[in-house]
C-alpha cells in the first residue's frame, strides 16, 4: 500500500489522463504498463461498463491485482473466453474494439510510431528496441488509437527512425490511401501534454498542456513544429485526490506500474 500523502507522480498523472480518454460502454484494447492502470482506473470510476481486451487473448477478466504482463493470469481471470492471438487482433479489424492504447519509443508529427530501433541504420542502430509485438496490429486496425509515452525532442522527432506502426503516415488522406483501417491516432499523451491531430493536415497539435508547461516549453520538448490550437490552450486536468486514492489503494497498490522506474 502506498502513502496517500505523497503528491501524484508523473506516472499516476499519466494514468489519470489516459483514463479520461476512455468512454463508458466501450471495448478497450490495452497494452502493457500505464494503459493497464488507466483502464482499470476508468472501470472503477467513470466507465464501469467497459470491457478490457488483452493481446494474449484474455477478455473481460474478473478484476484482480495489477497484471505483471499482458500474458499474466490477471488478464484472463475467469474470462468467459480466451481468444487465440490471431482472433484477438481480428476483433479490432471487425469493429469490436472501440479504442486501443499503445506505448512508443518515438512518435513523429503524423503519429507514426517506432518501437524498433533508435538510429537510422537498421543493421547498426544505436539501440535495438523490442520490435512491433502487437503495436503495429492495433495501429493498423483499431477504430481509435491513443499513444502514450515520454516526450523529448528525440522521442518526438520529425520522422521516426523506423515506422513500426502507421499513424497518419504522411498526413492528409495518406493513411486511408495506404489501405489501413480505422481513424489512426486521436491523441498522444505525454507527461507534459495531450496532443491531437489537426483534421486536414493530420499534423500533431497541442490540445492541453500540463500546468506549468507553456506552448514554448512543449515546442522545445518536440523535434518538429507543433501546431497550436485556436485560442488559449487549456490546462490538462490533473489527477484528482479521489482518483489518486483509487490508484494507490485499489488499482495499483503495490505501484507495479505507477512508481517511478529504478534500474
Amino acid at each position: 500500500m502506498q502513502d496517500l500523502n505523497v503528491p501524484a507522480n508523473p506516472l499516476e498523472t499519466l494514468a489519470y489522463i489516459i483514463a479520461q480518454q476512455i468512454h463508458d460502454h466501450s471495448i478497450v484494447y490495452i497494452g502493457t504498463g500505464i494503459p493497464m492502470v488507466a483502464g482499470i482506473l476508468a472501470k472503477k470510476t467513470h466507465a464501469p461498463n467497459i470491457t478490457i481486451v488483452y493481446e494474449s487473448g484474455g477478455q473481460d477478466p474478473i478484476q484482480g491485482d495489477m497484471p505483471w504482463s499482458v500474458g499474466c493470469p490477471f488478464t484472463w481471470r475467469k474470462s468467459p473466453t480466451i481468444m487465440e492471438m490471431s482472433y484477438s487482433f481480428a476483433q479490432c479489424y471487425n469493429g469490436y474494439v472501440d479504442i486501443g492504447f499503445l506505448g512508443f519509443a518515438q512518435v513523429d508529427m503524423y503519429g507514426n510510431v517506432n518501437t524498433h530501433i533508435i538510429g537510422k541504420d537498421f543493421h547498426k542502430p544505436k539501440v535495438r528496441l523490442t520490435g512491433s509485438g502487437g503495436n503495429n496490429d492495433l495501429s493498423s486496425l483499431t477504430e481509435n488509437m491513443v499513444l502514450v509515452g515520454l516526450q523529448t525532442p528525440d522521442k518526438f522527432p520529425e520522422k521516426v527512425d523506423f515506422i513500426t506502426s502507421v499513424g497518419h503516415l504522411t498526413g492528409g488522406n495518406s493513411r486511408q490511401e495506404a489501405g489501413l483501417i480505422g481513424n489512426g491516432p486521436s491523441a498522444v499523451i505525454s507527461p507534459w501534454g495531450v496532443y491531437d491531430f489537426e483534421p486536414v493536415s493530420k499534423r500533431m497539435r497541442v490540445k492541453t498542456l500540463t500546468p506549468g508547461v507553456t506552448f514554448d516549453i512543449a515546442q522545445q520538448l518536440t523535434g518538429f513544429e507543433l501546431l497550436r490550437p485556436a485560442g488559449e490552450i487549456p490546462e490538462t486536468k490533473l489527477i484528482t485526490p479521489e482518483a489518486l486514492k483509487i490508484v494507490r489503494t485499489e488499482v495499483d497498490p503495490r505501484g507495479v506500474f505507477t512508481t517511478m522506474p529504478t534500474a
Binding site: C72, S132, G133, R254
Partner: protein, 363 residues
Amino acid sequence: MAKYLYNQEAVANLKLSDMSVLDRLVDFESARAAHLKKEHAKKDKRMSLAEAVSTFVQDGDVITDAGFSYVRTPHQAFNEVIRQGKKNLQMIGAPNTNQSFFISYGCVAYSHNSYSGAEMRGIDRSYDRMLKAGRVKILSEWSHGGVAQGFKAAQLGTPGVFSKQMLASDIVRYNPYLKVMQHPLRGDHDPVVFVPALYPDVAIIHCHAADKYGNAYIYGPAVNDLAVAAATRKLIITAEEIVPENDIRYNKKGSIIPFFYADAVVELPFGAVPGNMPGYYYWSRQWWEKLMRFGGASDENMKSFLDEWIMGTKDQFEFIDKLGGAKWIAEARRQTKAAEGDNEDIDFSYEEYTLKHDSGLYY
C-alpha cells in the same frame, strides 16, 4: 538459389546474400510431405527429453517460441536444446522473447523477429548487443498479428491470407515473405498484404496433460500453439503429466492438440519453470528481473547468469531447487491460483530484484 519470389526490397534492406535460408519457413510441399510420412496411428511416443531433443531438433531447423513470453513456454526443453549445443537454428514466434537464450549460446543464428523484451521490465539489451555484434541475423520483421496469421493460414490449409496489418509500415520493407497487392474484388484502390502460410521445422509445446499418443491439453491462453502444432514439420509435446487417453476424451475440454501431429511425448513436470504455467505455478518475477537487469547490463553478466541457470542445472528439478525448492513450488502454485481466481486473494507484493537489491528470493 531461393525457391520463392521474395520481396526484393526487403531482401536488399536486410542485406541477405543467400536467400535460400528463407525457403523452409514457407515450403509447403516439404511440410506436407513430412506430415504424410509421419506415423499416423496411435503409437506410444513417450521418450526422455534428451532423446526427443536429440532426435527432433536438428541443426539448421526453424524452431518456434511457444506460449506467450513467459507463459507456458517450454523453458526447460529449451534449456536442453542449448545443453545439446544445437546450431544454426532460425527462431520465430509471436512473441519471440526467448530467442536471446539461444543466441547467447550460439544455437540460434537467424531471427524472424516480432518482439523481444520483457514489457515493463525493459528492452532486451542482450539481444541489442548480440545483434550489433553479428551473433544473430534478422531474416524478417513481423508484427505479432502477422506471425499469428501466417501460422493460422497453415492450420487453415490455405497457401496464404491477405492482411491489413503491417501495411505501409517499414515492417513490410524488412520482410521478404510479404507482398503488397491490390484486393482482387475491389475496383477502388485497396492495398492488402499477402501473408504466406508459415511452416516451422520444429515446435516444442508445453501442455498441461498429454496421453502417450500425443493428444494434448492446454489450459489458459493457447496463443498461437494450436496453429503451430498443425503447421510444424516436427512436434515435441512436453507435458506436466501423462494421462490416460480417456482422461482427454472424457474430462478435457477446450484447447486440444490431436495426437497425430506429435512426434514425441515427454513427461516433464515443471517444464515451464521459471515461467508461468496456468493452474500450476506462477513465474518467478525476481528471476526475470535479474535476467533483464543484471544479465542485461553486460555480456559477462549474462553469461554468468545463464551458465548458472542453464548449464548449471541438469534438469527442472535442479532448477527449482535453486529457485527455492518445495517452498518455491508451494508459493508459485498459490500465486498463480490466486491470480486466476482459484485461491483466495493474496498479497502479491514481493522484493523486486534491482542491481542494488537482491533478496536472493525467487518467490
